[in-house]
Amino acid sequence: MASLNRRWVQIIAAIGSNGYWPGFRDGAIYQGNLKKVCVPGLNCYSCPGALGSCPIGSLQAVIGSINYTVSFYIIGFLTLTGSIMGRLVCGWLCPFGLIQELFYKIPTPKMRLKGLAANLKYLKYVILAVFVLILPALWVNSAGMGAPAFCKYICPAGTLEGGIPWVLFNASLRSAAGFLFVWKMVLLVLTVTFSILIFRPFCRVICPLGAVYALFAPVSLYRYQIDEHRCTRCGTCVKTCKMDVVAFEKPNDPECIRCGDCIKSCPHGALRSEFFILNNSAPTTDD
């Protein structure tokens, strides 16, 4: 995987997730059968170009529906994707991850989430529990339907991919933009600003989909391995990692998005990626 050009895979995945060009041309949303299936990354299904459904939006839609408080379909999809790829999805397939990385390329002094700030990574699990699972199920209207709380109050991907295009395309929707739209625009501007300074701040602190895939880090089939005979603990991989993972100690850290930078940077060839673990001749660690 590391030998593939990650940027091109990200671009292809972003175009593949949003490849309904008539949506941008005519201001019409795609209504075909592909929308029955989720894309693996965070991608608003209200984007004019969206060909598939957002797993986090879909999860809230089912949980907030009148009939169900849990979604076997989406939990099954997330389990399938997570147990095969884990956060490889974040690093390679998520359109909103790509957007943040492109903003990070703007040349400015950069910041790292270290020390106490590193604990902000736990916030995404709280957001997953409260805004994706609990509020849509319990905070319901008189008809028994819950709102998609994460999408409605937090998700900057929805604002960027859905809100802004529709406000530009559609005059009646433009007139509906009020305080909530302004609030979400503020969150989007903050996300973009922090993305210029910090590598993927939304993925690390806020994203509930990243939180779900992080839970699969210990068991996902795609994983990293360290050859303990080759590793000298020189720390080159740690300096290279923009997610601040200590790869030689914990190569399958839940924060690792499997970008492969540590593998490329290792001067001793001690790190590698693989599916399944078969007949290792050298002692390895992968916890």
Binding site: S46, G57, S58, Y73, G76, F77, T79, L180, F181
Partner: protein
């Protein structure tokens, strides 16, 4: 974690995911996802 145990958990999760997806389809959850996704979700984009 022992590699064999990890593989067993992974295979168990894969099998479980297939079961969950099938159960979700059987319960009609796909229809809810589809109807939400083919309409502009005003709440999702800050307009509702």
């Amino acid at each position: 974690m022992d590699n064999k145990l990890r593989q067993r958990i992974s295979v168990g999760l894969l099998a479980g995911s297939g079961l969950l997806i099938s159960l979700g389809i059987f319960r009609g959850e796909v229809g809810i996802v589809f109807s939400k996704a083919i309409n502009i979700c005003l709440e999702c984009i800050g307009l509702g």
